[in-house]
Amino acid sequence: MDLQPGQNISLTQRQPAPATIEIALAWEPTNTALAIDSSAFALTGQGKVRDDGDFVFYNQPALAGGGIQRAGDGRAFAVTLTALPAAIERVVIALTIDQGRRRGQSFGQLNQVRAEIRDAGSQAVLAAFPLSTKMMAETALIVGELYRRNAEWKFRAVGQGFVGGLAPLARQYGVDVADDPDTAEPPPPPAAQPAPASPPAAPAKPIRLEKITLEKKGSSISLEKKNQGFGEIVVNLNWNQGGGGKGFFGRLTSRKVDLDLGCLFKLRDGRAGAVQALGNSFGSLQQPPYIQLMGDDRSGASAAGEFLRINGRHWDELDRLVAFALIYKGAPNWSETDAVVTIQTPDQPTLEIRLDSHRNDQRMCALVLLENQGGNIKVTKLVEYFQDHRYLDQAYHFGLRWVAGSKD
């Protein structure tokens, strides 16, 4: 059934009651210039978060303690009702336009935003909420909310928001926002800031909304080493089928193009190699190269693409690495993948790189270069295409010897 704004529907008054609810988000037109982000707020009966861990967004893709998982490049949330803490009575799902106000953008530039509420187990569609967004001046939009009502869980379609974007939205729910990407000046590269004399003492740090998109090939940013070193660095490659004929949600549910993520690395001691599914070279976090390939993220949300994890405590032993994407089977069709690379490092802004140029005659794409520069991590956008590993290796001077391999 299609919901109107304000309308609600019971999710658990059915047999069997869904354990996990999936909220899939989509918008028209899909090829919009708006940079649309999604977030979820887990709220108590007072309508506030318990702490910043209850704010699920691109810098924090799962609820602390479990129960909410952001997936599908932010186009879906999985809410496991039975795994939510008892104190959580509402889960608000919102969309925001990154720097929308600053760029003069709003949801009014879309025709429609649509949410589909599904039973994750059976994939049965429980409800859909198509919202016409024409004329909307808002840059943050509360799509809807799951909420407890007596012994059941319900979903209410909302369709209201804030002109001011994510910051007023987050504050409304009690999230302590440090930086407002809409009103703040563009963040200077972290390397330009003086190193703090001592580690920050405050335990309750305001949450970072900051996200940096490396727009142009060759543009780079340096993540500055803090006293304790880096935590786990996660490089995620995510992609969509894009523009298929499988309807509004085809992007989420089927993938014609399968991408493999991998990397070439060089250690400070001169050793070099590859971490990739080919040849089952999945690497290791505790031993050199301190890089591990995860076919999936740890929560099992397979919609979230592939992950390379780097043990930041051993960053000093790494010299550099180039993460790449490979189309192993089928004709290369990069333009349909709509692929995005995100690099998440604790206490650092999220970095985002889009594959915004395509070479459909090549099978491999060098995505991003991570270099050890005086202990800091210099991140450079590459998006350069190659025929195979050998050419990529030559271009970035890893000096490896190549033989044919297979994933089997």
Partner: protein, 192 residues
């Protein structure tokens, strides 16, 4: 301790407060927290006979007609005085001077300009109606409607009615399509 009513539930005000003379009905809802047109909600009272029709057009008590002819039912307007703290609108009823033909008073809340603003009660948070003893401000019964509403633009929140020699209060929570005019017509008000 106040009684919390569920939809359809009722309570005898006369039994809860023996000798009750004046009842205050407080109606409230959350202000809009998001951006956009505010929710402009209006409360009205319809003084009805045994057939559910107004005793006269003047027994439709609302912002343009703040008292019925007997003066027993009084719309106190937007509550900005601090009285009945937290209530958005207040209607007071002198039980002793109610016309003998009045069997019931229905309390209706409508969203002003709901169609044009595309608003409905499902978007209004924490709506309630509560009855208090006007002498001493003691809350007698309360009904939280928020979950019983959806896409309606008018809602009957509750009813005060005679039952034998008692006055009772019933939680209704019934939606109504078509706004205040449709409600008024159904209660037999002749709208110009």
């Amino acid at each position: 301790m106040a009684i919390s009513l569920q939809k359809g539930g009722n309570v005898s005000l006369s039994k809860q407060v023996p000798g009750l003379k004046k009842v205050r009905f407080g109606l409230g809802w959350d202000l809009r927290k998001t951006d956009g047109a505010d929710f402009d909600l209006d409360a009205s009272a319809f003084v009805l006979d045994g057939n559910g029709k107004v005793l006269s057009d003047q027994h439709f008590v609302f912002y343009n007609n703040p008292k019925d002819p007997s003066g027993a039912v009084a719309h106190k307007g937007d509550n900005r005085t601090g009285q009945g703290e937290g209530d958005d609108e207040v209607i007071e009823i002198e039980l002793g001077t109610m016309p003998p033909t009045a069997a019931k008073v229905a309390f209706v809340v409508t969203i002003h300009d709901a169609e044009a603003r595309k608003q409905n009660f499902g978007q209004v948070g924490n709506a309630y109606i509560r009855s208090l003893n006007a002498e001493g401000e003691q809350e007698i019964a309360r009904y939280d409607l928020s979950e019983d509403s959806s896409t309606e633009t008018a809602m009957i929140f509750g009813e005060l009615y005679r039952h034998n020699d008692e006055w009772k209060f019933k939680a209704i929570g019934q939606g109504y399509a078509g706004g205040l005019a449709a409600v008024a017509r159904d209660y037999g008000v002749n709208l110009g």
